[in-house]
């Protein structure tokens, strides 16, 4: 995607208007068929979601525009934006939506497709965190906060570790930072379950 460069680079000039030939209506139908995304085409474009979203002021496309982009079929824009990753899945939009669209689940669905096709913004910390979380949990069955943050920082911007020292010290002082990594006993059972062919 040429128009949306990674966040630390200066963006190129960007055409805001979309051309019809860039749209893929088939993809929109495909998305709407996924579990949780059924309500996509009943959206009124009222903007309640963007209004309630606590993070919409940081988004490149607020939730209402994401829904509009998806149902017209602008796949690349919808998958490579930062918006879907900024969504902290607080479900405020889903609760307030007058059409009961599960907007958070639509966001999840887009995140997964973006990861699958490697379309997420490069070195953006949130998808990196999600991937590391996935790895740690698949391997040991439980998450380990310290290792998770460490690996995320090393893969995005190692210098940010210096800014975390203060918080880390506070957590150590109050006995809240656990350095060990827990591994569940049934980790093989879990992996057998996760590797089931029906799912994969």
């Amino acid at each position: 995607m040429k128009t949306l460069r990674a966040f630390w680079l200066r963006p190129e000039l960007r055409r805001k208007m979309k051309f019809q030939r860039e749209a893929d209506p088939e993809w929109a139908k495909h998305v709407a068929a996924r579990p949780g995304c059924e309500g996509l085409f009943s959206c009124l474009q009222c903007g309640t979601c963007s209004g309630t979203c606590p993070l919409s002021i940081y988004m490149d496309f607020a939730p209402r525009r994401i829904i509009a982009l998806v149902r017209e079929g602008f796949r690349e824009d919808a998958l490579s934006c930062q918006t879907i990753w900024l969504c902290a899945s607080c479900y405020a939009c889903a609760v307030h939506c007058p059409r009961q669209i599960h907007i958070t689940d639509v966001m999840y669905s887009l995140k997964r497709e973006a990861v699958q096709h490697k379309l997420y913004p490069r070195r953006f910390p949130i998808p990196v965190l999600a991937q590391e979380f996935y790895k740690i949990v698949s391997r040991s069955g439980r998450s380990a906060e310290f290792w998770l943050v460490l690996r995320m920082a090393l893969r995005t911007n190692p210098f940010q570790l210096f800014t975390m020292i203060g918080t880390g010290w506070q957590l150590i002082r109050t006995g809240r930072l656990k350095l060990g990594r827990e591994r569940i006993e049934g980790v093989h059972q879990l992996q057998r379950e996760l590797a089931d062919k029906e799912v994969a």
Binding site: P35, L86, A88, A92, Y108, L129, L177, G186, L190, D196
Partner: protein
Amino acid sequence: MTPPVYGYYPGCSVRGTGAAYEESLLTLFRLLDLPLEELKDWNCCGATSYMCIDEEQAFLLSARNLALARQAGLKEVVAPCSACYLGLRKTQDYTERYPEIARKVRHALAAANLPSLDSVKVRHPLEVLFADVKPEQIRSKVVRHWRGGRVACYYGCQLVRPFAEADRAHDPTRMDDLLRAVGVPTVDYALKTKCCGGALTGTIHGVGVRLNYILLKEAARKGAEAIATACPLCQYNLDAYQAEIRREAGEVMDMPILYFTQILGWALGGDAKALGLGRAISGRRFITEWFPKHPEAVEKYV
């Protein structure tokens, strides 16, 4: 009549940054004579971050926990972390609504020699204390006066959202009711279900801290001197970055962020150490003042 045995699903957070939540929850349930039985060998619930990579596998993670509860013969599971609570309930909701997902989950569970997916009720401590124990009964067991200031009840987002039954989505009041029952004055806090940013304070730090700044500032404006939370992530976010907010926004802000279980446990005669009150980062001077190590002769309340 013997009280029901609740299964207990701690979740990864309460074993790390949220240690005080587990300590206070276990103490509180012991004081109320409610048995909690921890699920044996539980795993991650497949929360937010896992769901971003693979949804069906996230459901499988939750399904294994529910199957373990079933195996142990437990009918109800208490999940104190809001993200775990939502993750487990979302799995149940999706397997009920989508037969295709249910089929896959059942197949995978069978492949791992786990019992099939049967109904186990997932509950949040807030719901258990409000609906099963009832505020009046908690009130009758109070042994200590509240010495602190007014408290803003912050429910957080995932606790009250679509798959949850813990409270009303738009205007939850159960935590306020519980705290008032033990004599704690609460304030009207409009941002009680606004998001704290979850993992954002770790990933895009500035954005996450700003969300928490708004929450703290509004609580202070309403006259609250502390915030009560029901989720380890909310507590961590509101607690850990107050020094940074003081430095960058030039605010006078030093507010203790407590778990509602700590406040209830204290009122019911729990020990400050057993309630994990020493684990707070912000507002420590208030905490030592409100929850003294050696409280004077216990007086009967009400």
